[in-house]
């Protein structure tokens, strides 16, 4: 039973999967030669699988490598090692020409809608551009763009307006329409609602949920906000310093996070409920995230881990020397990368 659980819990055929992805960015000296003096370990051995009509959320704080992972999964930046499997092919081995038709299936929505829309193009042109790039505009492109504008809840009469004439939420809808233009199978959503006001954010979240049901899309949802994630995701992977520290289905994770970092993250998110907020347990982490160019040995979280401080010396030695792997043979339902994982109910 355990052996079965230890394989990632997904549907039989993932749409896209990343295996042992590693990305190191070189740190170069300032001199003329710009010799490589070190490396930033942005992503260190991440494996992900996204099934059909499934939302996988990638959660973590800034600098933990979640956006880099999303870009690696799209093969936008070459990984240092590891492979990305899509339709039985390893995307990292493909040439640019071979990659181009596959790009239609993998699309990206960015965080800041103003920065990702060309201010000198009309909404119609913005959404039509991917079709033109792939030579698909000639047959029925015009109707396709008009229907896309309607699908994302914009007024088709506004197709000749420019991005600055829209509000933040509407701009994000334009970004989503552009990503949908080529009928993709996977959308990578990089913090798509973090820049929006709450009353508008809810509309975009509902839109993403509706689109997934109607079009059968798979999402990789990158976010730092666990409350949004709980609403939209089927599965969650929590990242810390370039590694996945805990993963599981959304229900499993919120029922009892087992990794001390997930527990701290969950307890740090304020609940919009004064009575619960007064009584709930709060785990406040000390210190800051260590630099990814020189990560701690063994468990990367041990420098801030509240559990580590309670362990005796021999137990601490294990955290320092042995890197914990994702495992499910602890009392909880998730897979956690901690030697002393123990589930804890927090919400």
């Amino acid at each position: 039973m355990n052996a079965m659980l230890d394989t990632p819990q997904t549907a039989a055929n993932p749409v896209i999967a990343g295996r042992n992805l590693v990305k190191e960015f070189p740190v170069r000296a300032k001199g003329i030669l710009r010799r490589k003096v070190g490396a930033v370990h942005a992503v260190s051995g991440v494996s992900l699988e996204i099934g059909q009509t499934e939302t996988l959320a990638l959660v973590g704080e800034s600098g933990c490598g979640k956006s880099t992972t999303a870009r690696l999964m799209m093969n936008l930046i070459p990984p240092t090692s590891g492979e990305i499997l899509y339709e039985g092919r390893d995307l990292t081995k493909l040439s640019r020409n071979q990659m181009r038709p596959i790009r239609r299936d993998l699309q990206l929505v960015f965080q800041d809608p103003m920065a990702s829309l060309d201010p000198r193009m009309t909404v119609f042109e913005i959404i039509a551009e991917p079709l033109r790039v792939h030579n698909l505009f000639k047959n029925g492109g015009r109707d396709r763009v008009n229907s896309l504008i309607e699908i994302v809840g914009l007024n088709p009469e506004h197709r000749n307006r420019y991005p600055h004439e829209f509000s933040g939420g509407q701009r994000q809808r334009i970004g989503i329409a552009r990503a949908l233009a080529l009928q993709p199978r996977v959308l990578m959503l990089d913090e798509p609602v973090s820049a929006l006001d709450v009353s508008i954010q809810a509309g975009v979240i509902n839109l993403l949920e509706d689109l997934q049901d109607e079009l059968g899309l798979s999402y990789l949802f990158v976010s730092h906000d666990l409350s949004v994630v709980r609403h939209i995701a089927d599965k969650v992977a929590v990242m810390y310093l370039g590694k996945i520290v805990e993963e599981g289905t959304t229900d499993q994770l919120f029922a009892g996070p087992a990794h001390p970092y997930t527990q701290a993250l969950m307890s740090a998110i304020p609940l919009p409920d004064p009575r619960k907020e007064r009584t709930r347990e709060r785990i406040v982490l000390q210190g800051d995230v260590p630099s990814p160019s020189n990560p701690p040995s063994g468990c990367r979280f041990r420098t801030r881990c509240p559990l580590f401080k309670e362990l005796d010396e021999s137990q601490q030695a294990k955290c320092i020397d042995v890197e914990p792997l994702l495992r499910s043979d602890h009392a909880g339902l998730t897979r956690a990368a901690c030697h002393y994982a123990e589930p804890k109910q927090l919400v």
């Binding site: 939420g169 509407q170 006001d197 009353s199 959304t250 740090a268 998110i269 004064p274 907020e277």
Partner: protein, 381 residues
């Protein structure tokens, strides 16, 4: 020795008891002249702040929540037209000159801004900047005394190794530490009022928890009143006693934190609560967004500013802008003609849980066009 009652200003520290009114804001109005006309950013804000109280001001971007406190601190540009009154312990703050304000700012009332890197000076050490905050108001404090106090202050906001950190430059500290230095500067002179304007928006959640804890501790130690301005209802729920909800430059609802969260009586507040994804609810719970966008503050149409986005609106809403009306004996007030209809309503009773609502968007646009036409007519006259 306690961290705070160091000799520097122990004698002069604020001694008022809990519950005294420290800050009284009355009918505050702020407008900015622009090329397109007068932008009425704040339209009649009134509140009272008591010692030891913490007041949360919540609203969307552009609702005037920051401008209100900038006006109180005298930080707005000279072109801003400010009317009304803001009294700190009975003394009027509005209309004071720069020199007079400088004697009050940082001593009786201090402010924490969103981005700590821009509020700290990059070319001075944090110790220098902390000592400056003390010595500018108490010039007879010696440098070494000031330094000891700096170390105590850094320690009290939870900065590890304060003896070394006191000589660090801002760029050597992480975002959370910088914000804690800013909090230490704000509490350096035991102020009566601390205004925190989105103090944790730029920070990660685990760091946000640390900073909010430091802020809470700082407030307790100096017994100050706190104004916490944020758009995050979660932060409001955990760290304030009273809440003021702002929309289009006006307070639309005010009450204790429990009243606002459990018995909101203004559709906008209800909509905000319903549109919030919650970690303690599973994904079957649909969110209820508030469709449309906030009105432009240039030429507001008459009537209730929330009318175009409000599913409950009726004819009277287009003509008369509702005043804040008391709901009960507790001081809970809301600005809605139909606030009694909202009793016991859940967000999804009022707002539809759909992704888009083109009729609302169209109505918002029509209202904007109407206001623009009105403005054009006035121009012609």
């Amino acid at each position: 020795m306690s961290n705070i009652s160091v000799s520097t200003n122990g004698a002069k520290r604020s001694t008022g008891t809990k519950g005294d009114v420290v800050l009284e804001v009355n009918d505050l109005n702020v407008s900015f002249p622009t090329d397109d006309g007068l932008v009425h950013a704040v339209r009649g804000v009134t509140y009272e702040l008591r010692r030891g109280q913490s007041l949360g001001i919540v609203g969307e971007s552009g609702s005037g929540k920051s401008v209100t406190s900038m006006a109180i601190m005298g930080l707005l540009p000279k072109t801003a037209q400010i009317t009304g009154s803001a009294r700190l312990e009975g003394d009027e703050l509005l209309g004071l000159g720069d020199a007079e304000l400088s004697r009050i700012r940082g001593k009786k009332i201090s402010m924490i801004f969103q981005d700590p890197l821009t509020s700290l000076n990059p070319v001075y050490t944090v110790g220098f900047q902390l000592a400056e905050a003390v010595r500018v108001h108490y010039p007879d404090v010696s440098k070494s005394e000031a330094r000891t106090r700096c170390i105590d202050l850094l320690d009290s906001v939870g900065i590890p190794n304060p003896q070394q950190r006191v000589d660090a430059y801002p760029h050597e500290l992480s975002g959370g530490m910088r914000q804690r230095v800013v909090i230490a500067i704000a509490m350096a002179n035991n102020p009566d009022v601390i205004i925190a304007d989105e103090p944790t928006t730029a920070l990660d959640v685990t760091v946000q928890a640390q900073v909010l804890e430091a802020l809470e501790k700082a407030r307790e130690e100096v017994n100050a009143a706190l104004i916490l301005i944020t758009h995050d209802l979660g932060v409001i729920a955990g760290h304030t006693d009273d809440v003021l909800v702002m929309y289009a430059g006006k307070p639309v609802e005010q009450g204790t934190v429990d009243e606002i969260f459990y018995e909101p009586r203004m559709p906008y507040t209800l909509g905000l609560i319903g549109s919030l994804p919650r970690m303690d609810e599973d994904r079957n719970q649909r969110l209820t967004p508030v469709h449309g966008t906030p009105p432009s503050m240039l030429n507001l149409p008459p009537g209730c500013p929330f009318r175009p986005r409000c599913p409950m609106h009726q004819d009277i809403c287009a003509e008369v802008e509702p005043d804040l009306m008391p709901i009960g004996p507790t001081g809970h007030v809301s600005a809605c003609h139909f606030s009694d209809q909202l009793e016991g309503k859940a967000p999804d009773d009022v707002f539809a849980a759909v992704a888009t609502d083109l009729s609302v968007e169209a109505e918002v646009e029509a209202a904007e066009a109407e206001a623009a036409a009105l403005h054009a007519q006035e121009e012609e006259k």
